[in-house]
Amino acid sequence: MNDDAMLTDIRDSLTEVRDSLPQAHPRIPASEIIVMASRHRTRRGLASAAAAFAAIGLTLTLALLVLPSGGQAHPLHVHVHLDAWSVNTNPNGTVTFNLMQVSQPNQLQHVLAEAGVPARVVWGEVCLAKGQHVLLPTEGFVTFSPSETWPDQPGSFFGVTGPGTGDPALDWSWTINPAKIPSGARFLISAIPPDSVPPSDYQAVWEFVPESAPVACARFTKS
């Protein structure tokens, strides 16, 4: 086997192992990473100050102690643009979220969380919260397009069926005010690749439901 073939062989083996791992998203939010780094910096700063200025007393140390900020309870300003989706925090604090495809669902879920929008995102199955009255209203803090097709109903739900049924392609847009999202509620967003769903089945669905609501996911869901 020559060098190039050997390199290709090893590259293929390693990338196969890499790609076989399940998709992961960070369990620690970025805001916590930033806080942790500040604490590291503070410890380093304090150690240096103690070594260099031990004779001066507490003045400098006390000044350093008040420098770092505490944990970030508020959502971060997020601006993430991918081909499949984008999430942007607006100057007034609302979040604009566009969805063309549900790819990289874990990253999307994480970015939404960073922006202050709790969501569960599923790709490959359509998920529905179980229960007749499980849908929660979103009036006053969510605007959604295509608004002309958004059904007027007590709870918030929207779905499109497979190709060839007249439903538009997945091109959804929300503007959400995170400050007004009720505690304990979240968006449930799920979709299936359009080329693998029967025309009469749901291809994509979103709803706004309690976090505690049981959820049923399936590869095929009749509309």
Partner: protein, 165 residues
């Protein structure tokens, strides 16, 4: 400052999965890899003004995580016998990794592992890999050839064993 935080948060969200996968493959232990990557991102934020300007910030995170793994291993080598650690790492972490390939990768010297991680797993070109690792392009090529040859020696051995059975 707020702009920097936003920029870092975007990088963190988008780069985490890529970095974690490569570090998992390189160290063979999912939980340890997650800790190493989290620590590396913490350092990335601490040096964000520098890291943001690099040709490939993900490569910086991966290099720092693999360096930290060496420090971690040095701290623990007295406490954990190599054989039992390997057995634990390849069977109990639930990563589903090809254990013989990962074990062979772990036996490589750090610099060779870093070159494999950046050149083959992150798919950087030789020049960028060299820049990120602070070595010349010819050194990258040498490390890569040696690493591939060492890995190749292990893979046919494994395949032969499976064929004999």
């Amino acid at each position: 400052m707020e702009h920097d935080q936003r920029e870092f948060a975007e990088f963190y969200a988008v780069a985490w999965d890529d970095c974690l996968r490569i570090v998992v493959v390189s160290v063979g232990d999912g939980a340890l890899a997650e800790d190493l990557v989290a620590e590396a991102f913490t350092k990335a934020w601490a040096s964000w003004r520098k890291v943001r300007g690099l040709a490939e910030p993900r490569a910086w995170v991966i290099r720092v995580a693999l360096n930290a793994h060496v420090s971690w291993w040095r701290r623990h080598r007295r406490e954990v016998a190599l054989g039992s650690h390997d057995a634990t790492a390849t069977t109990s972490q639930g990563t589903g990794l090809d254990s013989s390939l990962v074990a062979a990768l772990r036996r490589l010297p750090l610099r060779q592992r870093q070159v494999i991680a950046l050149r083959l797993l992150l798919d950087l070109d030789t020049a960028t890999t060299a820049e990120m690792l602070g070595m010349s392009a010819s050194t990258v090529t040498t490390h890569l050839h040696r690493a591939v040859a060492a890995l190749r020696r292990d893979i046919p051995a494994r395949n032969d064993q499976e064929t004999v059975r």
